[in-house]
């Protein structure tokens, strides 16, 4: 009997398996985030599911920022890159330029001056 009661409150969710991903309720579509920058073109064969074009755009912006951050840490920053978002059929959805992903503040003439 003891064994039975222990099994009943077993943490193993036999009946109530829960998925560990979020946001599966709404409709999703697969988007591909192809990168074009100073390192050439990197196709995204795998893609990711997103619930809207807007989410895909946010994802591309986060991605562009992370690529630029890594470059800056290596001592370079190439603003000519862009993320070319395509749909499952490989048709263009939108392009996010790296320059759109950051608030650029050009250096002023006084920048770096001691006063």
């Amino acid at each position: 009997m003891l064994l039975e009661s222990r099994c009943a409150r077993s943490a193993f969710r036999v009946q109530a398996w829960q998925t560990s991903t979020q946001g599966n309720d709404g409709a999703v579509a697969r988007y591909h985030f192809n990168i074009r920058n100073g390192n050439g073109f990197t196709a995204d064969d795998e893609g990711m599911e997103m619930s809207s074009d807007q989410d895909a755009r946010s994802h591309a912006i986060d991605g562009a920022r992370s690529l630029m951050s890594a470059e800056v840490l290596q001592g370079t920053l190439d603003l000519n890159g862009q993320i070319e978002i395509t749909d499952e059929a490989k048709d263009a959805v939108m392009t996010v330029r790296f320059t759109e992903a950051v608030d650029l503040r050009p250096a002023t003439s006084s920048a770096g001056s001691p006063l």
Partner: protein, 246 residues
């Protein structure tokens, strides 16, 4: 077909000497087998498990959801590994354990393992050792994520998974199953999926590896190790071909 108990016995024996009688005692433990669908949790933060999990097939991961909803993966578990032995002596889960792909697991009750621990000092030592090695692996994941640039970090993760797969005989002709998506790599390495994709491409271009459709092919092991500066000592594997080759 190898029993769940025997799978656990072999896992323990991969960390050190397990006397025949102890091996047989562990191999004889009773277990339940469960099939877990993809992307499904087996244990969640706050749970009080009374079984340990043995992975029989598939792939599992442990992760924490951060305060801003971002997932940090802190380990992957291959078949023949036992991801939750520490639940024997901690009261509740402080993270989540879930299947990445459809995964078969075996569950062995804590009570049976407590008996092994009480009666068999050599098996007890190896259980200790297994959990200490887990801690060593977590330390290495911390170093990897905070110290290495993306291409080294990804190469290092590939090295680790490849050596661990080899240790449980899951590498064949330089190929092992690693059924992850970019998103899983990203969340394990603290990168974005876009950065991960670029990094994967950069690693492919070195000729050291190919990773496609959930399969890792290592074309040039010395080169991959060199890129990652990988030293497998933290895995404390008793003997594997790859761990020994320097």
């Amino acid at each position: 077909m190898i029993s769940v108990g025997e799978t656990l016995a072999r896992h323990l024996a991969s960390f050190g000497e397990l006397p025949r009688a102890d091996f047989e005692a562990v191999a004889a433990l009773r277990a339940e087998v469960r099939d877990v669908p993809r992307q499904t949790d087996v244990l969640r933060n706050g749970d009080h498990p009374n079984h340990v999990v043995v992975v029989l097939s598939g792939l599992m991961h442990r992760y924490t959801i951060g305060p801003e909803g971002k997932r940090q993966i802190h380990s992957f578990y291959l078949p023949n590994e036992a991801p939750s032995l520490e639940t024997l002596y901690i009261d509740y889960m402080d993270n989540n354990l879930g299947a990445v792909v459809p995964t078969r697991i075996g569950l062995i009750s804590h009570d049976q393992i407590y008996r092994i621990i009480d009666e068999r000092p050599e098996a007890r030592k190896l259980l200790w050792r297994q959990t200490l090695v887990q801690a060593a692996v977590f330390r290495q994941w911390l170093v990897r994520n905070s110290n290495l640039p993306a291409h080294m970090a990804l190469a290092h993760l590939f090295c680790e998974m490849y050596v661990r797969a080899d240790a449980v005989d899951l590498v064949e002709n330089g190929v092992c199953s690693l059924p992850l998506t970019q998103e899983y790599f990203a969340d394990a390495l603290g990168l974005t999926a876009v950065h991960t994709n670029r990094t994967l491409q950069a690693l492919r271009e070195t000729g050291a590896i190919e990773w496609r459709s959930g399969q890792l092919t290592v074309h040039d092991w010395p080169k991959l190790r060199e890129i990652a500066r990988f030293d497998p000592n933290y895995l404390h594997l008793r003997s594997t071909r790859l761990a020994r080759s320097r």
